[in-house]
């Protein structure tokens, strides 16, 4: 790693840490204003970090966030804003529960089959937005938001009409589900009922994401199109093809977001399963600056805050405060990153100017 690159990494990490500190200070002020004790709140928060169960919970919650952030980030790299991860995830959840539940295969094959179904369904759903963008130049922000609504309704309706399982004589149960997935499709736990093995899949996805974006020709073209679409086109990159393919990849990843909940926990589809995980991935991707390492750590942070929320509530701190804290952290990171970036740009410009002056 050369010196410049190292410097960049240091600046990036430092600005993220600074952002978190600023956010904690702002939150302390908010806590004071609302009449709560920030010292108590933070000691609860950081005290929780020492518990094994909390750490397991953090990793478990972070798993889907890593995948959904990767799905969002691949779009971001191209200046594509896929807000439809939630809808793509939801469609994939139902299709995997139904199609994956209808076949019988040996365990590893069955899991692979479910992944393929989930990815294909997610890609199909995001592909609609990609197609609209390429063929009709429909803004993907609008189309993916609309497709989220459509996904929610289509999934709810088809689940209720075709796929719900009503056990005989159990009309009293209001919690309806699809048929259970066969055991061979269950994704094994790392720690029984505490930490699911999908964590490893999520980490592998982040590594593959890094390889794809930074180490392949496709990734180069992707980043080039995102950085300067005009220049990329001039070098022979087909922007429409790039848009369509990155939407498909984004959707395929989105399809996997809900699999920890489906294959690793509930083992059947039910309403509200994995809800919000697609949306929360947007914030995680932003906080992680669309880089796999950043995404990994910001997913852990979100997972941790989620896990700590209950403990803070027991200390009489409303859950809304935790939500506000999360929002402030993201906002602080976005603002401070931008400020640091401008400062860094100016610094480099000044140095370049000085070098030019010295040379002349």
């Amino acid at each position: 790693m050369n010196r410049q690159k190292l410097q960049r990494v240091l600046v990036t990490s430092a600005s993220s840490v600074l952002a978190i500190i600023v956010a904690l200070v702002i939150c302390a002020v908010i806590l004071l204003i609302t009449g709560k004790d920030p010292v108590k709140a933070y000691s609860t928060l950081f005290g929780a970090a020492g518990e094994t169960k909390v750490l397991q919970g953090m990793l478990n919650r972070a798993t889907p966030l890593m995948i959904s952030a990767a799905a969002v980030a691949i779009g971001f790299k191209m200046n594509l804003f896929n807000i439809g991860v939630e809808g793509q995830m939801r469609v994939a959840l139902l299709s995997t529960a139904v199609i994956g539940g209808a076949v019988n295969l040996p365990a590893p094959l069955h899991i692979a089959f479910c992944f393929v179904v989930a990815m294909a369904t997610g890609a199909l759903w995001s592909g609609i937005a990609g197609w609209l963008k390429v063929k009709r130049n429909v803004n993907e922000v609008i189309s993916t938001i609309m497709l989220n609504f459509i996904a929610l309704s289509v999934v709810a309706w088809s689940f209720d009409t075709f796929f719900r399982l009503d056990k005989e004589g159990e009309s009293t149960s209001l919690l309806v589900k699809t048929k259970d997935l066969p055991r061979s499709a269950w994704f094994p736990d790392l720690v029984d009922r505490r930490l699911n093995g999908m964590l490893i899949v999520a980490i592998v996805i982040l590594i593959l994401f890094w390889v794809l974006v930074w180490k392949t020709k496709f990734g180069f073209q992707l980043r080039a199109s995102g950085a300067n679409s005009g220049a990329a086109r001039a070098t022979g990159v087909n922007p429409k093809r790039m848009i369509f393919i990155s939407m498909l990849i984004s959707g395929a990843l989105a399809g996997l977001v809900g699999m920890r909940a489906l294959m690793g926990d509930v083992h059947a589809y039910q309403n509200n399963l994995a809800e919000q995980q697609g949306f929360n991935g947007i914030a995680v991707a932003l906080l992680g600056r669309n880089h796999p390492v950043g995404i990994f750590f910001s997913a852990l942070l979100f997972g941790f805050l989620g896990e700590a929320s209950g403990r803070l509530q027991l200390e009489d701190i409303p859950k809304e405060i935790v939500t506000i804290m999360t929002g402030i952290i993201v906002l602080a990171v976005v603002i401070i990153n931008e400020a640091v970036k401008r400062w860094d740009d100016r610094r480099i410009q000044r140095r370049a100017a000085a070098m030019v002056e010295a040379a002349s």
Partner: protein, 355 residues
């Protein structure tokens, strides 16, 4: 620079979305300042051991809806007053919170924990099995375990009565029903209401709308959505609208005030929970679902040493459901309603549970 500006715009848009996604249940924020039940007076009629702790785990909708969850919270206050128990409350934000919160309450030393809402079914089954010395209660669902009380309500019976009341009071012959999420639970309300109205007047027109599909949590806090639908129906001639949609029901009440028509509340006695004199003039009655009684009795039973658990149905026969008389607007038809109530209890009227 242009690219940076775009990225910043995108970031801000994402934040907005994030905030929207998180704020879906902001109905809960209004009453999170409710008095801490822990310092409730220890005037106990069924004195529990000192330091008896009870937990209430709310679902993502949470307190402040003025209906279902607030009724459960009232139950906690009632139990605190009766037994001197300390009540610990936790609210879920996301899926994973349900199990985590139940476990936190167990760790916090709670001897009885009530999960408010059927989404707690699976998590409670798991946590109850792992903690056989703790008692549990679940509202609106059934968990087959010795240490769990399953608290199930016959909402269709209470809804039948307010449906009958609506038909008796309606002058236009058109009434309405607004549901939250289109799920089996809310369809029970619709089925009972429609059946009750048709029992009185077979020709009555009952408009039906739901605020969202299953899984759309905004349906429980969509005040504007409910108001829009209700205002439309009132303008088109409906004069009474029953809303079973948690916090969204406030929208129907607002529309009723503006149209000078009637709204029917749900779960809690909304005449009392609204507290607004303007609103009180327009709340005909409320379908009472005594979640408060269920929660209070469950905690009291365990505090008194009875940990038997089991399946408990709250219906008209034990006043687990019913209709509210606050305001006195249904006093003139009370005799008829009570007749119907007796007929339902006797089994002479069969109330459907699905539309």
């Amino acid at each position: 620079m242009r690219k940076n500006a775009r990225l910043l715009t995108a970031s801000l848009a994402a934040l907005g979305l994030f905030a929207a996604a998180c704020g879906g249940d902001d109905g809960g924020s209004t009453s999170s300042e409710a008095p801490a039940s822990s310092d409730a007076p220890a005037s106990s009629d069924a004195p529990a051991a000192d330091g008896f702790i009870a937990g209430i785990a709310f679902d993502t909708g949470g307190r402040g809806d003025g209906t279902f969850n607030d009724s459960a919270a009232l139950g906690g206050e009632c139990a605190a007053e009766a037994t001197g128990a300390e009540i610990k409350e936790l609210e879920a934000n996301v899926d994973e919170d349900r199990k985590a919160n139940l476990e936190l309450l167990v760790e916090g030393g709670a001897k009885v924990i009530v999960g408010v809402g059927f989404m707690f079914t699976d998590p409670m089954g798991e946590v109850a099995a792992a903690n056989p010395d703790v008692s549990f209660g679940i509202v609106d669902s059934v968990v087959e375990a010795d240490n769990v009380s399953s608290l199930v309500f016959a909402e269709e019976q209470g809804s039948f009565l307010v449906g009958a009341a609506a038909a008796l009071k309606s002058e236009s012959g058109t009434i309405g029903f607004i549901g939250g999420q289109e799920i089996d639970l809310i369809k029970k309300f619709e089925a009972g209401y429609t059946a009750g109205a048709k029992y009185i007047n077979p020709d009555i027109v009952v408009e039906v709308a739901y605020l969202g599909p299953a899984g759309d949590n905004s349906a429980w806090g969509n005040v504007d959505g409910a108001k829009e639908i209700a205002a439309g129906w009132y303008a088109a001639g409906a004069d009474i609208i029953y809303t079973a949609a948690g916090g969204s029901g406030a929208g129907t009440i607002q529309a009723a005030i503006e149209a000078d028509a009637w709204a029917i509340g749900v779960d809690s006695d909304q005449y009392l929970t609204s507290g607004d004199p303007e609103a009180q003039k327009h709340i005909l009655t409320s379908m009472l679902k005594r979640v408060d009684v269920a929660v209070c009795e469950t905690i009291k039973a365990v505090a008194g040493g009875d940990t038997s658990g089991g399946f408990k149905v709250f219906d008209l026969s034990n006043d687990g459901v019913g209709y509210a008389t606050s305001g006195g607007y249904v006093d003139d038809i009370a005799a008829q309603l009570d007749e119907i109530k007796a007929a339902i209890i006797a089994g002479e009227i069969e109330v459907p549970t699905a539309p």
